[in-house]
């Protein structure tokens, strides 16, 4: 700060070069580039081992497999941006598929059944957000509790039995394609674009980042912190609802048992995507690429003949490695 008006004498070309150099040496740029660069490197390595890996049918089928991880990573991004976490994410997917199937058995139209799955996710998100925002219980404890509650509810409602849903309109979401690219993947990308706009082009998004960065400062500036947290967790829950619809569409039946793999992958994708675990800094494309990266890695291991039993081991290592890179970054 000076007491005079700052003078700018440096030519703009120099300034631009300086800015480029500065951004190349900043940690932040590297964190943003980590997931895309890792994805490209992985694709090249696996492609050179087995050229079939990079064939169009293989790529589109892996992208389709990445759909549910992408959608859940989008949801988890909102919880993590608030410096929180949603452990109930995968359980909510199971409950959503159960409520969808229950509505289907009651003879409700398919579109209403899907709406019910979405509402289920929103409701769980609202419960999480209320306890975290107003009752002020740590996010970890609240969502650990709802994880168990939601898991129990799915088993009670379904009696643990999956329900077949032989509806072509529903399975078409996972099987129909446009130019080889599956519809479910396109839906996930559309959701990502919408959520990018919400996070970076609206007042709510700015407030969400501010609350995640520093809730005290946000409160002092007049932001309604509990309400913003509620909205963030409801978006997270809604994505679990979308995940439930996609899972049911993919399998063709409800899925009452919680697949914890989904939770791990979602959090791993968010961390890989460079979203700060301390809150306040996020991207949307990062977690999307992170989810694709994890799916490619898993498929690549299968391609190399590595047992699927190694998959959780690998995801765990990736999460810790990525989180180590992010340590102390606030």
């Amino acid at each position: 700060m000076t007491t005079q008006t700052p003078t700018r004498t440096r030519p703009s070309v120099d300034e631009a070069a300086h800015a480029v150099r500065r951004s190349l040496t900043s940690e932040e740029t590297w964190m943003k580039l980590a997931a895309p660069v890792a994805l490209i490197v992985l694709a090249i390595v696996l492609g050179s081992i087995n050229p079939r890996f990079l064939s169009w049918p293989s790529i589109t089928s892996m992208l389709a497999d990445a759909t549910i991880p992408i959608v859940l990573a989008l949801g988890a991004t909102f919880a993590v941006t608030l410096a929180g976490i949603d452990l109930s994410l995968a359980a909510t997917v199971a409950l959503g598929s159960v409520t969808l199937a229950t509505a289907y058995q009651a003879g409700l139209p398919l579109i209403v059944c899907c709406g019910i799955a979405l509402l289920t996710g929103l409701a769980i998100g609202a419960i999480n957000g209320t306890f975290i925002g107003w009752v002020r219980i740590p996010d970890f404890i609240v969502t650990l509790g709802t994880l168990s509650v939601v898991m129990g509810l799915s088993l009670i409602i379904s009696q643990g039995k999956p329900v077949q849903i032989p509806e072509r309109a529903l399975t078409a979401i996972s099987t129909a394609n446009i130019g080889g690219i599956r519809v479910n993947f396109l839906i996930a990308i559309a959701l990502a674009i919408v959520l990018h706009v919400v996070l970076f082009r609206t007042r709510f998004g700015t407030h969400l980042l501010a609350v995640g960065d520093n809730p005290d400062a946000a409160k002092a500036m007049g932001l309604k912190v509990p309400r913003i947290k509620l909205a963030g967790y409801m978006i997270c829950g809604a994505m679990a609802g979308v995940g439930a619809i996609m899972l049911t569409s993919y399998i063709g039946s409800s899925q009452p048992a919680t697949n914890t793999d989904y939770l791990l992958k979602a959090i791993a994708a968010v961390v890989l995507g460079g979203v700060s675990l301390f809150g306040g800094r996020a991207t949307i494309y990062g977690p999307v690429i992170g989810a694709i990266l994890l799916t490619f890695l898993q498929s690549g291991l299968t391609l190399l003949g590595v047992s699927a039993f190694y998959s959780p081991l690998m995801i765990g290592i990736v999460v810790i490695a990525a989180a180590t890179l992010m340590r102390g970054r606030k």
Partner: protein, 248 residues
């Protein structure tokens, strides 16, 4: 000059603790008023009543003669009172312009589909920063990359941007070095020259002497004295704060 803000007989208790036991003072328009007092004298409670964080149990606050009642920081802001908190209340990872427009973002579009006018906000924030002759390196920078003095300047610039009636500065230079303190004081003077009313809470009597025109002394939850700053020495101020000197 006319009284901008009048605080009359404010009481505030927290359980059994009476933090304010009838504090009264006036703040004149277009000058710098200081509040001094020892820890626990009630300064910050009084300030929080003025910023809307606390609602007084008793007493009245008037702005331009009109009684006001704040039940949230938003109420105080709506009445044109801006506060620069000691911890600055900045979101470190957000940019300078995002912080300056926090909760008052400019948007375009129909209700329900309103999008930020980022270009407009960046331009206006940059203009104000230039007007205040503050050397902040670009409004697009995140606040965490700024120095202590620059952060303080951003917080003050935000206050200037929105304060119709008064800016409250809570220990504005407590965390700064000598050089940065001088720069922030120069900025505060420019803000007042621009026609704003400023209330400073400070522990630093030298600073109060340098900056303010009017000083109020608090002790034990009351305002025990007030004087024109030019009529009092630093030593007398210390005496008034500790109770060693009989107050005016």
């Amino acid at each position: 000059m006319t009284d901008k803000i009048v605080v009359e007989n404010i009481h505030k208790s927290f359980g059994n603790v009476d933090a304010l036991k009838g504090a009264s003072l006036t703040i004149k328009a277009g000058e710098i008023t200081a509040i001094v007092g020892d820890n626990g004298a009630g300064k910050s409670t009084l300030v929080k009543c003025l910023t809307g964080l606390y609602t007084p149990d008793e007493g009245e606050i008037r702005i331009d003669g009109e009684p006001v009642r704040f039940s949230s920081p938003r109420d105080a802001r709506d009445k044109g009172i801006e506060t620069v908190y000691q911890d600055l209340a900045l979101s470190d990872q957000l940019s300078v312009w995002q912080n300056m427009y926090m909760d008052r973002e400019l948007v375009a579009g129909i209700p329900g589909f309103q999008f930020l006018r980022r270009g407009e906000m960046k331009r206006r924030a940059a203009e104000l920063i230039a007007d205040l002759a503050v050397n902040v390196p670009g409004v697009g920078r995140s606040v965490k990359r700024l120095s202590g003095g620059q952060r303080q300047a951003v917080a003050i610039a935000r206050g200037v941007m929105w304060a119709k009636n008064m800016i409250i500065l809570d220990e504005p230079t407590a965390a700064l070095g000598l050089n940065e303190t001088a720069q922030v004081e120069a900025l505060i003077r420019r803000v007042v020259e621009g026609g704003k009313t400023v209330l400073v809470v400070s522990h630093n009597f030298e600073q109060v002497k340098r900056l303010s025109q009017q000083v109020w002394v608090m002790r034990g939850g009351r305002v025990v004295g007030g004087t024109r700053t030019e009529e009092v020495s630093g030593e007398q101020l210390v005496g008034m704060v500790t109770g060693a000197v009989r107050t005016v």
